[in-house]
């Protein structure tokens, strides 16, 4: 077992091609990350049951259990460690499958080293921010309109007594909005903070997530009192509710 501080710089590389695995690991080490490796899906799951890391670089075409299955298993087990998929298939359908399986980002082989390192840094930065922003008892919890959100457990008890599991993205959006409660937050800001740069090209994605949050937390999602649309700009979150 390692300390949380070490975990925050540790990356698990799951790749069955020895050359590619070695290349990726050497570069991550050169960037100052601590690196662990697994050559197939089962070994990766086994490792993750005992150890923690800040990011998983996950090949899709693995022998036995493939990368998507590994990611889905992790999410089902409640493991929210971010995943960057590497795959030889770069078509959009595959990309969508990856993100649906609970991946954070997706890179097609062959990839550019600089882009790979940039994406790794971006994912870790987002998670560093999220972790730091939920570090204290006060910032780990949010209550508004009868809803209680636990940012560390990705869980919420809503106004009607239901317990809801939040996805990482929902929790991150809620975090950004809560940090800027009462202020206008633009869609672009939300995209930048939650997704990094070009994973989702559309600001519509943000709108869809806001709809999901309203459905979860608003008593009347059609007439929201907490997640307000500011036409042409973005959104404003009001913890106490619109008067």
């Amino acid at each position: 077992m390692s300390t949380p501080a070490e975990d925050a710089r540790r990356v698990l590389v799951v790749e069955d091609d020895p050359h590619l695995a070695a290349g990726v690991m050497e570069n991550l080490r050169a960037e100052g990350y601590e690196v662990a490796s697994a050559s197939d899906g089962r070994a990766a799951l086994e490792w993750l049951r005992n150890e923690n890391c800040a990011l998983i670089v996950l090949d899709v075409m693995l022998p036995g259990l493939d990368g998507f299955a590994v990611c889905r298993t992790l999410r089902d087990e409640g493991n929210n460690t971010p995943v960057l998929f590497l795959t030889a298939r770069g078509d959009p359908a595959d990309r969508v499958r990856g993100l649906e399986a609970g991946g954070d980002d997706y890179l097609a082989k062959p990839f550019h080293l600089k882009e790979f390192l940039l994406r790794v840094r971006a994912i870790l930065k987002r998670w560093d921010w999220y972790r730091n922003a939920s570090a204290t008892a006060a910032t780990a919890a949010l209550s508004f309109g009868g809803n209680e959100v636990d940012f560390r457990a990705f869980r919420a008890r809503t106004w009607n007594g239901e317990v809801q599991e939040l996805t990482e993205k929902e929790a991150m959006i809620l975090k950004v909005l809560a940090e800027h409660a009462g202020e206008i937050v633009s869609r672009e800001d939300l995209l930048e903070r939650v997704w990094g740069y070009d994973v989702f090209p559309s600001t519509r994605t943000v709108d869809n997530f806001i709809l999901r949050l309203r459905k979860r937390f608003e008593r009347d999602p059609a007439n929201p009192r907490h997640f307000l649309t500011v036409w042409g700009v973005g959104y404003r979150f009001l913890a106490e509710g619109e008067p």
């Binding site: 050359h19 590619l20 290349g23 990726v24 570069n27 693995l62 022998p63 036995g64 298939r89 080293l113």
Partner: protein
Amino acid sequence: MKATRVFQLTALALIVVSAVQVGWWVFDQRAYTIEKAQAARALYADETRAAQALLAAGAGEARVRELLPDIVVDAGQARLAPAVESALLTEAAHRYRQYAWEGSFFLLALALCIAVIARALRAEARVLEEQDDFLALVSHQFKTPLASLQLSLETMALRPLAPEQARTLIERMLADLARMELMVTQILESVRLERGRVDLRSEPVELAGAVARLLGALEERARGQRIALTSDVAPGLYVLADPLALDVIVRNVLENALAAVSPVGGGSIAVSARAGNGEVELSVRDSGVGFRPADGARLFEKFTRLHPGGGSSHYGTGLGLYIVRRLMQLAQGRVTAESAGVGQGACFVLTWPAAPVPRS
């Protein structure tokens, strides 16, 4: 859609319509025959009644027979003559038989046509699907060594490296290139075999020399992967084969053995040969990943890539052993593979017809 496919589908539709027509014709003719027979019977029934009326009116039997020749009078009772009765039955039976024979003949012929066309359509679809799979697989196979090459080069471009690090990267890149070259060779070989464009010679080939040459070419790579190559092939064993095909076969089996041993961190590959019963056997035994005994035959199928975990590995195109089997078949030889199980190593045995020792 291609013109031939449109033609095939149209022909298929026409034949199906024809088959339905034949079925309808048989049914219709049968109904018609029944109708005709009933009409004839009704007519004879009228005649019988008429005869009975004549008898009742006091006409003599001879008069009745003269007026109604199909009716016989038996003890004052008129009835249809047995000959006419049996002619009626025979006629109906004859017609039914005719429809049954003709109908089933045409239906059989049409069904045969349908089967032939459907088979052709299915075979064509399978070929197209295989080609698609092949293209997808091949491009996918190339992406991994390409990604590794790009990564190595970009690493060198991105940061200054110590000489030994640079050395490692260069060796890695050379190995990636060798991987791609092998893939290209195997793909070309398999396409040639597939199209039947092979013109194999059959001449005495000295086995020990060929094996030594191939082992020599792989020695350095084997050393790099901590694999001990040993050979025990007595000089003077001649097999009847095409020298180039024999090279391809043995090289592919050796490549397969290397790929099986390198993931377990090194080991051994031992080549040996023996002669007997007019044949020569070459065995390649490795201490690599092995395979489930049940997979022994599947190994030689196209695109089969077995992995210790049971899935497919990134290594190879899945064509190497397929090429080996095809070439061995063409050379009147055979190849078998055995393994005690995953992790137990494997043994590939190539068998050629023995050739007489050339005099020169």
